[in-house]
Subunit: 395 residues, 2 copies
């Protein structure tokens, strides 16, 4: 068992608040961790993240093993020192990349598959550059096209060198288009790897198991039961999450009853506003999502209700000409540093001229927006009015 403590505070239905204590500090849950894929949250400095009261970050084993490599990071004493981040850190195992570079490319899908929006995902389509076998994941580096094999043991050894507070077992993230036979066989492998990772793990880093099983109830329940029996420090719920938001909700409803009440639950890679409310309501504690900073770099600032709605995804296209002389802040209901200082017109101008700092300013605002929302959710749960807050936000 690694260094991890999780204490509950309040419950409001299945939604719950708590304090997760890891080696580098405490996290108030439910919480969203910004994604620092390559040891940096895109377009933001560590100073920005501290100013935003960011509680923790997640980094990516797959990217870091290739560049700068785990050995360079180990030379600095780990990721915390390398990137100058002194609060809790999580690393994922690289398993998700087996999907995003493999079946995800072949099927041209993400963790969820929405038939009605499929045309929007055609940019994902491509030749698989990852192969999976019982031994591990073979892939070509996107940096130099060198051949690499990520086994359960290699993933653990790399994550030990990276030195995050909480690490993840290697798993296979299946595709929402994988059939039940494929998913059943894959799950067997994922379970075998989870057990191996736990046995191989030698440091006092906390370690999380990952529940898989696609969108089949029996597989998801079996996976949750099996992983619970292995007594991990924490539990993650991985994709595929089905073909609709309802499928995702079902997966949570099937899995969570089998996970230990006193361990944190992390829904991997999910985190837009609507999904957070629905998942917190079903008992999820931890989220990670690239969306706030990714949409920022595409020029979409987040907005709160009443301007922000489920329909407009709580965002708008700032590059639109109608904002060229708009003197309002990015969000009229926000009190972040960017909203106190700059107008939409100015940041619209920075986007039009492709000035880097435009991406920084919107990223800062969007993270503030999401972290502030998580704070509101925690307060609402503590005050037994989570359902009311959810209604105010998503109707």
């Amino acid at each position: 068992m690694g260094e991890l403590a999780f204490n509950h505070k309040s419950k409001d239905g299945k939604a719950r608040t708590g304090t997760l204590t890891l080696k580098h500090g405490c996290i108030q849950t439910p919480a969203l961790m910004p994604v620092a894929t390559k040891a940096t949250v895109k377009a933001l400095t560590v100073e920005d993240l501290n100013e935003l009261n960011t509680q923790f970050l997640i980094c990516n084993t797959y990217h870091l093993m290739l560049q700068p490599t785990e050995d360079v990071i180990a030379k600095f004493g780990g990721l915390h020192q390398f990137m100058n981040w002194n609060k809790p850190l999580i690393t994922d195992s690289g398993g998700f990349q087996a999907f995003s570079l493999g079946l995800g490319k072949e099927h041209a899908v993400g963790k969820m598959f929405f038939p009605e929006e499929h045309h929007t995902n055609s940019k994902l389509k491509g030749k698989s550059i990852a192969k999976i076998s019982d031994k591990g994941i073979s892939f070509q580096s996107i940096y130099d096209m060198s051949y690499q094999v990520l086994t359960p043991e290699r993933s653990i050894r790399i994550q030990e060198k990276l030195g995050a507070d909480l690490i993840l077992v290697l798993d296979e993230c299946t595709s929402p288009l994988s059939d039940k036979t494929y998913t059943t066989n894959s799950l067997k492998r994922t379970h075998q790897w989870a057990k191996e990772c736990l046995q191989l793990h030698q440091t006092n880093q906390a370690i999380a198991g990952i529940v898989q099983g696609g969108h089949w109830q029996d597989l998801r329940e079996k996976s949750a039961q099996y992983l619970a029996s292995l007594n991990f420090d924490s539990y993650a719920i991985g994709g595929s999450l089905g073909k609709s938001k309802n499928d995702m909700h079902h997966v949570l409803e099937w899995v969570i009853p089998y996970l230990p009440e006193n361990k944190p639950r992390h829904l991997l890679g999910i985190g837009v506003v609507e999904d957070i409310f629905e998942s917190v309501e079903r008992g999820v504690d931890l989220f990670d999502c690239v969306s706030p900073t990714r949409i920022a770099r595409s020029g979409y600032p987040h907005i709160r209700p009443p301007s922000g709605t489920k329909k407009n995804k709580y965002r708008y296209k700032l590059k639109s000409q109608k904002y060229k002389d708009d003197s309002r802040p990015l969000d009229t209901h926000c009190d972040c540093k960017v909203c106190k200082t700059y107008s939409r017109a100015y940041i619209h101008h920075l986007l039009k001229t492709e000035e880097l700092i435009g991406y920084t300013l919107i990223s800062y605002h969007n993270l503030y927006f999401m972290l502030h929302l998580m704070n509101e959710i925690r307060t609402a749960i503590n005050e037994s009015r989570f359902k009311q807050l959810k209604k105010e936000w998503i109707g």
Copy 2:
């Protein structure tokens, strides 16, 4: 006459210190103004600039008239409000773009022409998209290829709307490859425009004349004399500055004796370490240069002596593999925030992965480096040891 006061403090040879007071505050001279071409210093926020004790900035009429347009900026009350900068600001007139989009493209040269390095400038080569006549500069917008004419009157009216503390007259910057006949005729026009701009100017913004005349002593002296007779608030020295560093030094030696002692002298667009020392020594007070932030975005951090030398241009290529696990700060002799916090290895990694924040961190360091150097230069002049400092830096 606009709002401008210039008080001398010390002299050390021809090098001098002073206080330049503009509407939005005081500037200790000699001083370097970072370039905020499109109302932002690339990759840095206004907060960063304030933290760096940046005294003033220069913005670009040509770029801003096209995007977001002077009318949008005027709607906000001017550039200060639009970009949230409350210290002094200068705008240039757009004259330099007549050169960089016109003869500069045809001749494939910058303000100076070094025959031995000419191959490096081939990237400038292209078809002219600016035509000059006695009426003004006709050009096509680089944004939408629309046809524009910048006359002396239009340049002044735009700069009045932009609302900087100090504005510049419209001039023609000739090419170092222009012959004497061309330069003589051009100078006649530049003088006519200077007079017109002064007459047309209606606000209490300070206004600077620009000395031209290429690298011919009689033309440069004539230009300095003529502009001095017009009694501008400030004087700028424009390109072309010849075919060698010596040519540039001669231009300064010809011009400066004819400029009023009690007015600031601004060497336009110049500002690498060596040039600053040579120019301050000859009596220049103000500099603007994109170099510190431009080389930052190419991955070159500045370094002080003894590592930094005239030969290596006080910089190094951080993307080189030899820095991949270098735990030293960007400059081992620097105490800026970036050098106190991050290693070369980390920022090398950010460059390799093209993470935006890498450009921000090096830009911050490079500006700190240059502004700190200007501070050292002022102290050295005040303590009558400028020559000693120059020797320590450039030998």
